[in-house]
């Protein structure tokens, strides 16, 4: 009964979304307050209805109601409760429902907290949000309905894929969808601004929190996915440039450009059309990613169950949303006149450089991901584009971005003094040089690039600290005075410092992966592997039963210098129902390095294959991502967003007529 209620609620939500798409837009055009207010009510109502629908589906999963086709296909009574719940979005239909739930939530947030937005702008934003929501609700109801019944209801479900029962994997989609949906709000703002024909600092102030929220969601979502791959897949890889991974990276890259570009619009009233384009682009990439993952045109480990009719529908959504927005852009953007001029060497100049590099990186990843598809479609040869291509093209683009990351914040707006900025960075340069020299000494001359990467990370980290020290005039004023300044700094600047510092930490982790060591050995009880100064001795392999599997568990003793430090228990699990075997890796994480163990096949007679890795600084990759996201969150809590936009004084000199 609840399911039918949920189904009905979803249909009603579609109806409301359609109203939300049309009425406020008309109201804004005719300045009818009543019509514009409909946007607010519709958004709130839509959220309530979609929440009911989502609750209904969750209820079905939690109670293991196998008369619902979606539950029967993707759940099982023996699944632990946590995974029953996360199973709600672990399939195509449920994940789309989560999408629209978050979309409706964001729309409701704009409706509730947007009271200091100009009325027309808010109405238009809600209208565009409504359109996007309507599109997805229609997609769900037409092609991906989770509320279909299965008659007769089976005794139990089929969804017990052991690979999907994992905490990291359970939370990776919600964060990613938050990222994608957040970008739809920025998109709505961009389209609304184009309809209105005006982009100003107030608009930028409103867009930035949403762009930041989206970016934080994507950062955490991507990091979670990468971390999951690391501890699950048995050889410690964490990024494969797989098409679906790229699908989440693309909006992240363009989202990074967006949050930086919006700063310039806000502060200097320039780079408007470029920022609008970025806002459109970021959501477009989220949509393109959705298309790639769910339509079956690309093959990937991650791809959901594939259906060409779904692909066509999403393509239709793409055409309407992106085509429409870009057409609007082509017509309206030329009229958006910028204000402030700036010299090439300036804060704006650095941000423009960042934009350029991020945009190029986006195009690079897009090109690499789609090229095999293009060639295949035109009947050309079948080629592969894998990690070697991306490493060769993407990494060189990031190097100048990282160099500029330390310099940019030290440049003044409008016209910066590069020499002075570089002088302030002498500490950073020294730190980088020291790291490089020490690294070369310790590691030898191979791999040089990794050592340079570490130096680059040191450059950025020390640069962040130098910039902060500069702001509080550390050591140039009495410490108490510096402390007072530090407390007075806006949250957004701490957010920036944290986020950039997080980047440095992550880059260090990535660079250090070149120094990992691997040992694969066939061990009998009593034998050991020596790696990186550790001795890993196999004590025994015992059989361990689990709720839905039987596992071989190896008891590995970790010694260093003869002292037993720890015991690690890698497992090899055989799932009885699925007839599948997965390896449960044992990881001993430390700040300095991870010890990573995986167990292969074997038996008492022939011994067991054990694979051991020593991975220096690998946890820095995810720690860095977390610090980046934290920086974004800190920025979000800046008072300026909450206080709303101060009324603008009329500009002293209007921008010169064209």
């Amino acid at each position: 009964m609840f399911i039918e209620l949920g189904h009905f609620a979803l249909a009603l939500a579609l109806f409301l979304a359609l109203i939300q798409s049309v009425v406020p837009l008309a109201g804004a055009a005719r300045r009818l307050a009543g019509w514009m207010a409909v946007g607010r009510s519709a958004a709130l109502g839509q959220f309530a209805l979609v929440a009911v629908a989502f609750a209904a589906l969750t209820h079905a999963y939690v109670t293991s109601d196998f008369s619902v086709a979606n539950v029967a296909a993707n759940s099982h009574s023996a699944k632990p409760m946590l995974y029953k719940i996360s199973g709600v979005w672990g399939n195509h239909e449920g994940s789309m429902l989560l999408w629209v739930l978050i979309l409706a939530l964001c729309g409701a947030a704009v409706a509730l907290f947007g009271s200091n937005l100009p009325r027309e702008l808010r109405a238009r934003v809600l209208a565009v949000q409504g359109m996007v929501g309507a599109g997805f609700l229609l997609f769900i109801l037409a092609t991906s309905n989770p509320f279909l019944r299965l008659v007769p209801a089976p005794a139990d479900g089929q969804g017990l894929n052991p690979l999907l029962q994992d905490p990291g994997l359970a939370f990776h989609p919600p964060f990613l969808y938050l990222g994608y949906v957040g970008s739809s709000v920025a998109f709505a703002f961009a389209v609304a601004a184009l309809i209105e024909g005006r982009v100003d600092a107030a608009w930028a102030r409103w867009v930035r929190p949403w762009a930041l929220l989206s970016w934080c969601g994507l950062t955490v979502g991507i990091a979670l996915g990468s971390w999951w791959a690391y501890y699950t897949l048995g050889w410690g890889g964490w990024w494969f440039w797989d098409p679906v991974e790229n699908a989440s990276l693309l909006p992240w890259l363009s989202g990074t450009a967006l949050i930086h570009s919006a700063i310039v619009v806000e502060r200097r009233d320039t780079l408007k059309s470029w920022t609008i384009l970025l806002a459109i682009l970021t959501f477009s990439l989220a949509l393109v990613g959705t298309f790639l993952v769910r339509s079956g045109v690309l093959s990937s480990v991650h791809a959901f169950a594939v259906d060409p009719s779904r692909g066509s529908f999403i393509l239709g959504l793409l055409l309407l949303a992106i085509g429409g927005a870009l057409a609007l852009y082509a017509v309206r953007a030329p009229a958006l006149q910028g204000g402030g001029l700036f010299a090439p060497i300036s804060r704006e100049g650095a941000l423009v450089l960042n934009n350029l590099l991020m945009a190029t990186a986006t195009v690079t990843v897009l090109l690499g991901t789609l090229y095999p598809l293009f060639m295949d479609a035109v009947g050309g040869a079948k080629i592969s584009v894998g990690p070697p291509f991306f490493n060769q093209t993407f990494v060189p683009l990031m190097v100048p971005a990282l160099v500029a990351m330390a310099v940019g914040p030290l440049l003044a707006w409008k016209r910066g003094d590069l020499a002075a900025a570089l002088q302030r960075l002498w500490v950073a340069f020294a730190a980088a040089a020291v790291v490089v020299l020490v690294g070369l000494y310790l590691a030898g001359f191979k791999p040089v690039l990794a050592v340079l990467g570490l130096g680059l990370a040191a450059w950025v980290a020390a640069g962040v600290l130098s910039e902060w020290a500069e702001r509080v005039r550390l050591f140039r004023l009495p410490l108490g005075e510096s402390w007072r300044r530090a407390r007075g700094l806006p949250r957004a600047s701490y957010g920036m410092s944290l986020a950039h510092f997080g980047v440095a930490v992550m880059v260090a982790g990535v660079a250090a992966s070149a120094f990992e060591q691997e040992r694969i050995e066939n061990l009998r009880p009593g034998e050991h592997i020596a790696i990186a100064g550790y001795e890993l001795r196999l004590r025994e392999v015992r059989t361990v039963p689990g709720p839905n599997f039987i596992a071989d568990e190896a008891v590995m003793e970790v010694r260093r210098g003869g002292v037993v430090l720890d015991e690690m228990l890698p497992q090899r699990r055989m799932f009885t129902v699925q007839q599948q075997t997965t390896a449960l890796t044992a990881i001993r994480s430390g700040l300095a390095a991870d010890l990573y163990l995986a167990l292969g096949e074997g038996d008492a007679a022939t011994g067991w294959t054990v694979r051991a890795y020593h991975k220096p600084l690998v946890s820095w990759i995810w720690l860095g991502a977390l610090v980046m996201a934290l920086g974004g969150v800190v920025s979000l809590t800046d008072r300026r967003w909450r206080l709303g936009v101060a009324a603008r004084r009329p500009a002293a000199v209007p921008a010169a007529a064209e």
Binding site: V297, P308, L315, A330, L370, D376
Partner: protein, 177 residues
């Protein structure tokens, strides 16, 4: 001129969407790999035979034949087997089999149970000959002409549709050459 620049994103997007639409409509399977040896000489091979005498590419030269890689442990091979029997017995197709990574006794048992459509069978225990053909799964079926060139590859179990629309017409065409 300036206005044209603003039109660029839309144009690029239109091209992209066009490609996507084309990819969707064409229904190409992204996982399917076309043979790298199409219209090239089939790899030479010399394998022990299931029936006792060896199977070599040289002895097969001069006639059109269909090479089918199979295995007793391969479920889809069971599905296509009746079709192979029909091809051999009713259509007179010259079918040659290669047992891929199979123990001879298992292959014999498989053929005893399901029927033997093959003129000759080779045993490829380590799968090297299969790799020479660019095989990436079983079953796979190759059409080889009189000159010993590979004319077509079918990946996966043959379907009646493929047989009617592609295999038989090709064989008739090659027989006339």
């Amino acid at each position: 001129m300036r206005r044209l620049v603003y039109l660029l994103p839309l144009l690029l997007f239109a091209a992209l969407a066009g490609y996507f639409a084309f990819a969707l409509i064409s229904g190409r399977d992204p996982r399917e790999l076309p043979s790298a040896l199409l219209d090239k000489p089939a790899p030479a091979f010399d394998l022990p035979g299931l029936g006792g005498e060896r199977l070599s590419a040289a002895t097969l030269r001069g006639e059109v034949f269909v090479l089918n890689f199979f295995a007793s442990w391969c479920a889809p091979c069971r599905v296509e087997h009746p079709l192979l029997l029909r091809l051999a017995r009713q259509e007179g197709v010259r079918l040659v089999g290669i047992a891929y990574k199979d123990r001879p006794e298992d292959s014999r048992r498989f053929l005893a149970e399901l029927g033997d459509p093959y003129r000759a069978i080779g045993i490829d225990r380590d799968g090297r000959v299969a790799i020479d053909f660019g095989l990436y799964g079983v079953p796979e079926t190759y059409v080889i002409d009189r000159q010993g060139h590979i004319r077509k590859r079918f990946v996966g179990p043959l379907s009646p549709g493929q047989v009617e629309r592609e295999l038989l017409p090709l064989l008739r065409g090659l027989a006339r050459l």
